[in-house]
Symmetry: C2
């Protein structure tokens, strides 16, 4: 009876970590779409709200860290649960850095909104949507230990990387053509790179899922083969 | 007697984690100076060796992760030791990403070495040295739980950030002056940003030390006050 009780408290602890991770991920997804919308729709208010919103994501990082430490200390989880919790500690760091990237995009949006528009970059919307989906699927895969979904996320990283390279080429051409474009093109370049980095972070998460499920570490194997 | 034995094995486990972290940090320091030297001395061989060396840093990340998990599972550390080990798990992720940034610098060096030199950037050496010192001190502070040293590292981040902004301004001027500089200036821009990110990672480590020592989380407080 005592054991039953302990086990259900423990399960609810793990569930709380899962739910908080999904909550934090949901907030980062919102930040991605808001930051890019603030740029494309030239909405400076939305840019400012996105920058301010980063604090909420930062606070969740600290809360999840504390919860993970508490569960390790009080419940002494073994094997797979321990792996899940220690990976969760790394996942929150990636999520927090994604939030930082969104705030960076919003800061560039604020600056760019004060100048005439450079030109519409339709691929930025595509990149933002793809990066956001990758994050969503990666966290889903993490909380459900779904290795197939994680593999799908890893495969998606190339798509965002190619869009980033394409945008960088277009921006370079625009700078070459007219030096009055340089300042704005550099800022757009940063936006595109931030989205690329967000996709990289999502890939990091997906690699942790494969580690969790298979107990085999695929981190670093992609770039090294 | 049994207890004495267990405790000394446990202490040697913690010592092994400390030593491996310092080893990994030393390798990243080497990568920082080699990557920047490959660029400034136009040494493509050194750039290639730096890129290849990243695998050694990646391997250490996996080794330290495994060791931390093993110690948590077998020794069930409490309170401060548990905080140290879970922070070590985050520290290795930061170290690994610093190694990635060095490999990026070396890749840009390889490309830039095929083109005529843009101009000497003396500040890049200063930035690299400052970032490298920050990393060294942050890891030293982490393994010795030295809060004062950690505070010093946090204070140093502004210096590197200002050098980065200065270099970015110079590069912008050089692009504006002559569009044939744009391609190379964009690559130098990336190098400068990589060094800035390395300093940010070192600051992350130092903030974890303050968390470890004071049990109070200073992460996010700098940007939010």
């Amino acid at each position: 009876m005592e054991r039953q009780h302990l086990s259900s408290v423990y399960e609810s602890d793990l569930q709380e970590i899962r739910e908080k991770l999904l909550e934090m991920g949901g907030k980062v997804e919102l930040m991605i779409s808001d930051a890019v919308r603030a740029l494309l729709e030239r909405d400076t208010d939305l840019a400012e709200r996105t920058i301010a919103y980063d604090h909420t994501v930062n606070r969740l990082e600290l809360e999840i860290d504390e919860k993970c430490l508490e569960v390790i200390a009080l419940r002494q989880p073994a094997a797979r649960d321990l792996r899940f919790i220690t990976m969760a500690l790394k996942v929150v760091t990636d999520l927090e850095r994604m939030g930082d990237k969104c705030a960076n995009i919003a800061k560039r949006a604020k600056e760019l909104n004060c100048e005439p528009p450079l030109r519409p970059f339709i691929d930025l919307t595509k990149m933002a949507e793809a990066a956001s989906h990758m994050l969503h699927d990666a966290l889903d895969a993490f909380t459900r230990a779904d290795e197939q979904l994680a593999q799908k996320v890893c495969a998606g990283d190339g798509f965002v990387g190619r869009l980033n390279k394409q945008i960088q080429r277009e921006l370079l051409a625009s700078m070459m053509a007219d030096s009055s474009n340089i300042n704005r093109a550099l800022k757009m370049n940063q936006v595109s790179k931030c989205l690329d980095r967000i996709a990289d972070h999502a890939t990091n998460l997906a690699e942790m899922v494969i580690f969790l499920v298979k107990g085999r570490d695929v981190r670093h194997t992609v770039g090294e083969n």
